[in-house]
Amino acid sequence: TVNVSSNDRAFQLSINGNSITGFEGYSMARASHGVSKGTWYFEVNFDDQPDDSHIRIGWSQSYASLQACVGYNKFSYGWRSKHGTKFHEAKGKKYHFGGFKQGDVLGCLIHLPVDK
Amino acid sequence: WSAFAPEFQELEENEKYIEKENEFDMEDE
């Protein structure tokens, strides 16, 4: 069963079952299982956020630092709640106007070449 | 450099830096 990993995550995040609670600066938790080829999709519920707070979600290789946000370097791809911007290598591009917020269900799909 | 930095702020205590949402971003469209 795929869960939030209990150790492949920033120490300052609090993990309770499959829910992640963060505070202060960006940091990352990854899933217990990764994928390496084919097309995969996961969904999460964005439960709750304090005013003026934001999250980022996406796909990350294990090389990406846990003490930064997803999309910070070349090892990960992130999608931000603020303005719905997508990030890779810390560069933000327009992606989904208006962004997302608590109460939304977020889906992330990755399509990896099968034969490489 | 810091001896003459005009905007240098003296602190009595360590100050915890509050990171910005775009702390780790280089560019943002």
Partner: protein, 159 residues
């Protein structure tokens, strides 16, 4: 009897009122430095190194930004694996203490009330008028920074 930590707490808070011990003046080692205004016994708390507490990755980004602006990054002081104290733009005059390979002080990280703080202690007796120095213990890097401490046992580089 005050536990060790309480004792440190009281002593570190007295520091603010004992500023007279040291003064800021031109240094033979590099630019400006701090000098003892009175003779100081060994293992005395001299000054706290104060600045902004930031996470390691934020420090790495700032170090690159400072280098780009030619500010140099020797006001970043690592307190543990995850955090650094940055006195480049906000802090106190402890940032002016120069490095020496044969220092008369040392830096110690104290945890007081859960907060990690850096205190500079005297290592030996420090005579009035002597420059305060400690070993920065910078990590070894490829692009070197020359050390100007002039001590007999100088290692030649800060990093």
């Amino acid at each position: 009897s005050l536990g060790d930590a309480n004792n440190d707490f009281f002593k570190i808070n007295q520091l603010k009122f004992r500023k007279k011990m040291i003064k800021f003046a031109r240094s033979r080692i590099h630019g400006w430095g701090l000098y003892a205004m009175e003779s100081i016994a060994p293992d005395e708390m001299i000054v706290e190194y104060i600045g902004q507490t930031i996470r390691s990755l934020v420090a790495e980004e700032r170090e690159k930004a400072y280098e780009r602006r030619g500010i140099g990054s020797s006001y970043l002081f690592r307190i543990d694996l995850h955090h650094v104290i940055d006195a480049t733009k906000r802090g106190n005059f402890a940032r002016f203490i120069n490095h020496s390979c044969q220092p008369n002080c040392y830096a110690k990280v104290l945890t007081i009330e859960g907060e990690k703080r850096i205190v500079i202690y005297s290592r030996t007796i420090i005579k009035k008028g002597e420059e305060i120095t400690y070993d920065y213990k910078f990590p070894i890097e490829d692009d070197k920074i020359d050390c100007l401490c002039g001590a007999k046992t100088c290692r030649g580089y800060l990093n």
